[in-house]
């Protein structure tokens, strides 16, 4: 007499048994697969390290025109390595059928929703920002209280280098909530605003002319972009704001210093009078700070 199990094995075809195996989410783990996976992870890590170092070095060696182009390619290259590596690992260790995929994403969604909410939020924000272009490597941005050049773009966060040469790591998920001010948006030039203050009785035409000439004469000025002087009245005096662009946004502080040096020399030559400091105390708004 044939046992029931043996009879079933004879009745149920091999394809059906294979389907049962395919329903399992995890594939068979072998020694070769494990070695391959470790090798793939190490290769990906080395690749990303090399890309970061190589592009960082190369972008500072080439002409300005190509600097931002090279820097902006970093997140895409790193993203490409990540996608290839993760796809390879998933293919090796998971049976990615339609049902398995549904089950897996459901499980992951629950797990990540509770345990790694902020982490996943940062990764998604990073991907969104990559396509939205809110900030790119090489841009000069203000996020919250921090201002500086974006020098790194990771999976979870970006790195800013401030004018004081401090590196600040900021998670991408601030993109959802915080305003991001980008000074150059992928271009080499970023507007620099320079403020000077004078007594109400000052010859405004002369001041405006000197400010224009200060911008035109500075070697840092990008003459192809507009130069503008605007005025604002305060109780204690008149504020003049010179808006112009350096050829390289990195020069913004040395540029503003150069503009002020040139302009103040000319102001002194013409004996222009500065506002009375005691009146500034009466102004509730106070003088506006210069913006980058």
């Amino acid at each position: 007499m044939i046992p029931l199990s043996a009879a079933l094995e004879m009745v149920v075809p091999a394809a059906a048994r294979a389907e049962t195996a395919a329903q399992r989410i995890l594939a068979d783990v072998t020694l070769m697969k494990t070695i391959g996976a470790v090798f793939a992870v190490l290769l990906a890590y080395a690749g990303m390290f090399l890309i970061e170092r190589l592009t960082g070095w190369l972008s500072e060696k080439v002409a300005r025109r190509y600097r931002l182009l090279i820097k902006q390619s970093v997140p895409f290259l790193k993203g490409l390595i990540l996608i290839v590596t993760v796809s390879y690992l998933l293919d090796q260790f998971l049976n990615l059928t339609q049902n398995n995929l549904l089950a897996l994403t459901g499980t992951l969604a629950v797990a990540l929703g509770f345990a790694f909410k902020d982490y996943v939020s940062s990764i998604l924000a990073g991907v969104v920002s990559l396509f939205e272009g809110s900030y790119q490597v090489g841009d000069r941005v203000r996020i919250g209280d921090h201002y500086g050049e974006v020098v790194g773009y990771g999976l979870r966060s970006l790195q800013l280098v401030t004018p004081d040469d401090n590196t600040i790591t900021i998670p991408h998920n601030l993109l959802w909530t915080d305003p991001i001010s980008n000074a150059n948006s992928g271009k080499l030039e970023a507007q620099v605003a320079t403020d000077v203050y004078f007594d109400h009785r000052v010859d405004v035409d002369l001041v405006v002319d000197i400010l224009y000439q200060a911008a035109y004469s500075s070697q840092y000025t990008q003459l192809r972009l507009p130069i503008l002087v605007v005025m604002e009245e305060h109780l204690w005096g008149t504020q003049f704001r010179l808006r112009c662009y350096p050829m390289d946004a990195r020069d913004e502080f040395v540029y503003r210093t150069d503009l002020l040096k040139r302009a103040k020399r000319a102001f002194a030559h013409h004996g222009l009078s500065y506002p009375h400091p005691q009146l500034a105390l009466l102004d509730p708004a106070g003088p506006l700070p210069a913006e980058g």
Partner: protein, 374 residues
């Protein structure tokens, strides 16, 4: 856009190949010794201005003056633009000094050849010269031609530094009874256009034409013949292309590398000369010309070079004043640039070495500087 890019790429590859061949091969040719090179530079300077350029300016001047005399509304000025390393003032002076001038006129050259030592006096120099040129013209019917061959020497990039140019613009527009011949370098013109929109007032500035290979050969032949040169294209090795005259090809390549500029071409030609030792002593040879390599430049170097190209030639004090830096901070970089051969100093004036001009244009353009090239 594609064709110029391809041409630039081909020129760059040609230069690189010529240099590499010369370095890799066991080259029996030696570069010229310093004193020989200096002597040849003096001979090149004594060659004068190439005939096609003189003819171009003479013809343009004749046409412009005739138009001005026949039509009171026609422009009363001719502006000749050149590269900063080409001496446009010598060209204009040569045209005015010709025995057979392009037209009959009372001529006067404004005394503005070099910037005064005091930077504040630079705009005053031109204003004083303009005021001095104002005596009423005698009513003889003969036109009055005033020439200012060095406009780039009449301003400085500093506050108030181009007020003389604005005064000149005003005088030219007001005094339509005089004809003006101005020479200026293209970079200076582009700068003046940015700061005072000068080309809106004078839109018909004429750029000097580029010389081709045969014209360059004609200009330099007296010197080359005097040196007893034996042509040796392709870096001292015999050419394999029997259909192409290597000498013609060499001059055409020189013209392409120099962008048709005679002083740039002469400098590149000088750098292509070699000495070959043989039983009779040393014999002069000419190898395939190549653009020299640019060393790695810092930001300060680029600002210095850009300023020199805008101003043509300038004293160190003027350079420092224009850049808003003390002279002692510029000195180390100036010495380095002189040592690398990127700039030269003559009679206290600094200028860019002509053979480096094509490379510098590209380097500055790539670094977001405005250039005088289209």
């Amino acid at each position: 856009m594609g064709l110029p890019l391809l041409e630039a790429l081909q020129t760059g590859l040609d230069s690189w190949f010529a240099r590499s061949t010369s370095e890799l091969a066991d080259d029996p040719l030696r570069p010229l010794p310093g004193e020989r090179s200096v002597a040849l530079q003096k001979q090149i300077a004594a060659l004068g201005v190439p005939l096609p350029l003189r003819a171009f300016v003479g013809e343009a001047l004749r046409e412009a003056v005739e138009a001005w005399r026949s039509d009171p509304e026609a422009p009363n000025v001719l502006i000749v633009l050149s590269r900063p390393v080409e001496p446009v003032s010598a060209l204009i002076e040569a045209v005015l000094a010709e025995r057979d001038p392009p037209f009959s006129a009372r001529q006067a050259l404004l005394p503005c050849h070099r910037r005064p030592v005091d930077p504040d006096a630079v705009p005053r120099m031109l204003i004083a010269a303009l005021d001095g040129s104002q005596p009423p013209a005698l009513d003889t019917g003969e036109p009055v031609l005033l020439s200012l061959p060095n406009l780039d020497q009449c301003f400085l990039r500093c506050i108030g530094g181009w007020s003389g140019i604005e005064r000149l613009r005003q005088v030219i527009l007001e005094r339509r009874d005089r004809f003006w011949l101005l020479g200026c370098n293209r970079w200076a013109w582009r700068f003046l256009d940015h700061v005072s929109q000068i080309s809106s007032y004078f839109p018909d500035a004429r750029s000097l034409p580029a010389l081709d290979g045969p014209q360059l050969r004609q200009w330099l032949t007296p010197l080359a013949s005097g040196l007893g040169l034996q042509q040796s294209a392709s870096g001292g090795h015999p050419s394999t292309d029997a259909d192409q005259d290597p000498e013609v090809d060499q001059w055409s390549q020189l013209a392409a590398l120099a962008g048709g500029g005679p002083r740039i071409a002469a400098a590149l030609w000088l750098e292509s000369l070699r000495l070959e030792s043989n039983s009779d002593g040393a014999e002069m040879r000419q190898v395939r010309p190549a653009l020299p390599d640019l060393p790695s430049l810092t930001d300060v170097d680029r600002y210095i070079l850009h300023s020199l190209l805008i101003h043509g030639t300038m004293r160190l004090e003027h350079l420092a004043f224009g850049l808003g830096l003390p002279s002692h901070r510029l000195q180390p970089r100036i010495h380095w640039l002189l040592g690398e051969g990127l700039i030269e100093a003559k009679a206290g004036e600094l200028s860019v070495q002509p053979s480096h001009y094509p490379g510098l244009v590209k380097a500055l353009d790539d670094n977001n500087f405005f250039t005088g090239e289209a």
